[in-house]
Symmetry: C3
Subunit: 276 residues, 3 copies
């Protein structure tokens, strides 16, 4: 296949589309990070809405450009709401992004993810290695919601993409994204992201924002979202005196991402198509 | 009617009263902004308390100087708690402030507001144009919880004040407040408020703080709260590098509001009494 | 008894142990401060996990180095989860820390604490004077969740330690800690802590982190946690322009605590053993 006339990925183009269209991103997420994911959604230029009641999730999901499901601080009734919202998003063609926070740590979380994946057509799964491994029954070590060890993340992403039939992003020092359309690796980001709670959840919310403007290309959405967030994190680390100021800078730097320079700052390695 | 010997509004006088008395402001609000509205309440000099359980809301509301009800991230049992708390506040003479987050976006939210307004004597409603329009059955366009378009906000505030029989603040680039006692417009504030989630909810919490020291004058409370918050936002924008640092500055600048200069910084236009 | 060869307290030694072992600290806490206590836990070097569902709390508590229970924004089903998690932590030997937010303010909160204390072996209670007084049926004045007046805090801590049979920390301008093993007073900290919501809850979370590396010495854990937090708060006040920037600095300064200098900055007065 000849090289495409335009590069496979352009975070800048998607960023411009988000800021022009302000897509509504419906989020059913955990109590710890609701404020943070709403603010990062605003910072990138999209419109967040948080709604979890069974009585309104279908209606709200019907208006949304994307739906983000995040299972941190889960309770059983929230899973029902996630499935209901996910099916509504499916009916309306809005991509669904799943963050399996703590899958593998407790049976409840692993089973909740499996139920969501069985009953909803998920476009993108974004998790750490142990969480993604748990979804496909591979061995991994998890402590609370932090991945301690798992196999090679690129291989894991590809295996999970095949097993789950969707795009899977395994994030870490290097993020590995694999899906039916191919694979990619993103090496933007800084270690300090691990010192602020919810930065993984923020990256998932951004996957939702980028998916809203790339409905038919979840691999592109996830790759570009993680690359853009990584670039912003690199900017945020400059002058940060610790995790508190880094956290504040992160919103400033996501809002300050410049489409003129973004594509030259991302470090994306394009891989081959995931073998079937 | 002759001009009053003292100006109709003095945010500085109310601010001084809040800082002297530290009124307790009971808030039943949404998960996204609980930390933020508690911190803005502390920053102005009042005392926040968050409690939503059916088993304690009446007792807690009985101690409060004001009660703030905010329907973001609503679920049905929370509406019951809001009504119970609202009636307790009514019995104790504590003003009740309602933030109809997302009214008009889903039927559940519109109906929840109508139920609260029917069963509780609400002193102040503070919302964006689409939310307020939804409460009185007027046409408006809402996306998620953001107002997209509605009619003239001054006219809308007056119509809602008449229809609901309370003071109504419709906030935006200019805030329009109307109530049985007259009307006002506040043109303080900055556009960056729209880039941080929960700034509307914070302004509602401040309406509660100002209402606690102006029990018999909700129009004054809402107008002064919005003007003081707008002045603080103008201060916070100075030196902000984006929404993250602006957000942090907002707490510093609300806490730093100076009664010596505040009344000279507010831009309040006093209107006539709302025609019956 | 001769003076010990090493000083009774070394926050620096515990800090080093936390940063080396990254203990998992399971927290069932209130909606207002979940993000904040997770971030302060990360800043000190431990690993937070928030989980409250009945279906998973026992499993999660089984992995944890300590369990923190905080009753702010309580509802009845959360109390059941706290008891279930607390018993699991007891079985695994993980210390349990209780923050009785608002005990004494409403009957529900007082009774929830009493139930937890009756059914779970709690290692450390950390509260303000009015909250601790309420737990042992002493008179105190509380407004919302803020202590207005109570008796002498050192006497109160000792009385509560005797009555509850555990270590009790009564925090304020000076923190008084008393337990079966003795007593201590910590005079680190700054008044600005009272202007940011959740700083009490953060100090309780840190008690959990220090308890995870001092399983058999809750008096040491609580004293050192409060001293280290107080030192960080003193650092954070430098250059703070108000409660917003102070709050941000707090995370930076907890993360920046230096084991080389910490023990020279703490102001801990060691008291005698609590009379039986």
């Amino acid at each position: 296949m000849p090289a495409p006339a335009t590069p496979r990925f352009s975070p800048a183009a998607s960023l411009t589309a988000i800021r022009a269209g302000h897509p509504l991103v419906h989020q059913i997420t955990n109590y710890v990070v609701m404020n943070e994911t709403a603010n990062i959604t605003l910072a990138i230029g999209a419109s967040p809405v948080m709604a979890h009641a069974l009585a309104e999730v279908e209606e709200m999901a019907g208006y949304a450009g994307a739906l983000v499901l995040n299972i941190g601080t889960l309770s059983p009734e929230w899973v029902d709401a996630m499935v209901l919202a996910g099916r509504a998003a499916n009916r309306h063609g809005a991509p669904v992004v799943l963050d399996p926070v703590g899958a593998g740590a407790t049976r409840m979380r692993t089973e909740a993810c499996r139920r969501i994946l069985a009953e909803v057509a998920v476009a993108i799964v974004r998790g750490n290695p142990a969480e993604v491994a748990a979804l496909i029954g591979e061995a991994a070590e998890i402590r609370g919601v932090d991945s301690v060890s798992a196999g090679d993340p690129g291989t894991l992403a590809a295996a999970a993409a095949r097993a789950l039939g969707c795009t899977v992003a395994v994030t870490g020092a290097v993020d590995h994204i694999a899906g039916p359309g191919g694979s990619a690796a993103v090496s933007n980001g800084v270690a300090m992201l691990g010192q602020v709670t919810g930065t993984g959840c923020m990256s998932t919310a951004l996957c939702g924002c980028f998916a809203a403007v790339n409905r038919d290309d979840p691999l592109r959405a996830a790759t570009e979202a993680l690359a853009a967030f990584g670039v912003a994190a690199e900017h945020a680390a400059v002058g940060a005196r610790g995790p508190g100021s880094f956290h504040v800078n992160l919103y400033d730097c996501v809002a300050g991402l410049d489409p003129e320079t973004l594509d030259s700052e991302v470090r994306i390695e394009v891989g081959g198509a995931t073998p079937a």
